[in-house]
Amino acid sequence: MADEPHDARWRVIRARNRALLLVLVGLVALFYVLTFVRMGGH
């Protein structure tokens, strides 16, 4: 699709990158909390 607006493509990519960043931050937070819970003996 050569006539696809360039900025539309960028908008999609940027939204997906933000979502991916959120997922990665969530995973880091998850493993931090998991570590603390496990250290508590559970």
């Binding site: 696809e4 999609v12 997906r16 979502a19 998850l30 998991l34």
Partner: protein, 306 residues
């Protein structure tokens, strides 16, 4: 059933770059299916004997949800040709050309591996193995092997949808008990009448896509008979948690009333010559499963069972 007509299948129009939005990524996880899977998993986790730290319980539920989503994404990747033929599925991201097939497959695989790994690391490896079995069964046994070959596709494939309560149970106990098997059996025997109700009024679409659902292969009469038989089997099966001492009188009474309602629906489908009763039964079947598991949860909260 490779003999079935597949002339209606048109080659998929695939995009040259991905227009898939975040919403499309969510859509390929089949969130509506996921909600029922998560709910039954929560009930398995809640009524299992033992205790699990609330955070670990939340992680277990998250892993069940993501694992179910991963199965859905891989299923949509594999079924993108037939999804394009059926009105019900034609607007999904892959057949609509918004998402590249490789994206869906990659996304599904990453989520599948990630959910199993996190379940194993955070909760226990029995629950992780059951989650891996669920995903593998849904993808390889149901989607790839049975769905396009036999009218028993959703009977055998239904085992994948029935496993989440076992995973929840295993997350708490580290194993599988008779109570967990009873929960599995409820979903397993509920699945055929649920999907056959849908396929009765969508049989044209299934036939066009070459999927050998029972109404397409054996006809409406045989399907309606089988649906009625399965609703009768659900009477003793839904009584099992009460007989095993997992639930008390509140559950037993409620489950009996719901099973009566389900059987009445099936008898209406049997005598109905239009689609109306089948549509009503499909809607009722969703409420039926939700309410059976909600009753188990409520009864457990009220201290029912032994």
């Amino acid at each position: 059933m490779s003999e079935l007509p597949s002339a209606g299948i048109v080659p998929s129009v695939e995009a040259d770059w991905s227009r898939a939005s975040v919403g499309d990524y969510v859509q390929i996880l089949k969130p509506r299916v996921m909600s029922l899977v998560v709910f039954t998993g929560i009930v398995g986790l809640a009524i299992a004997p033992g205790h699990l730290h609330p955070f670990l319980a939340a992680v277990a539920i998250l892993c069940i949800a993501i694992g179910a989503g991963a199965s859905g994404a891989i299923n949509m990747w594999y079924d993108r040709d037939i999804d394009r033929v059926m009105r019900r599925t034609a607007s999904r991201p892959l057949p609509a050309g918004r998402m590249l097939p490789g994206e869906a497959l990659g996304f599904g695989c990453v989520l599948a591996v990630g959910s199993v790994a996190v379940m194993g690391i955070a909760v226990n490896w029995v629950a992780a193995e059951l989650l891996a079995l669920t995903i593998a069964f849904y993808v390889f046994v149901y989607t790839i092997w049975l769905k396009r070959r036999t009218p028993q596709n959703i009977v055998i494939g239904g085992a994948a949808g029935a496993l989440p309560p076992l995973i929840g149970w295993a997350a708490v106990t580290g194993g599988v008990g008779w109570g967990a098997i009873a929960l599995f059996a409820i979903i397993f025997f509920w699945t055929p009448p649920h999907f056959w109700a849908l396929s009765l009024y969508k049989s044209d679409e299934y036939a066009a896509a070459g999927i050998p659902m029972l109404p397409v292969v054996a006809g409406a009469r045989e399907t309606k008979k089988q649906m009625l038989l399965y609703t009768l089997v659900l009477w003793p099966v839904t009584a099992a948690p009460w007989l095993l001492g997992l639930a008390g009188a509140v559950y037993a009474g409620g489950a009996g009333a719901l099973s009566l309602g389900f059987t009445v629906c099936a008898t209406r489908v049997w005598s109905d010559t239009t689609d109306r009763a089948a549509r009503q039964m499909f809607a009722f079947s969703l409420c039926y499963l939700f309410l059976i598991f909600a009753l188990l949860l409520a009864d457990h909260g009220l201290g029912g069972g032994r």
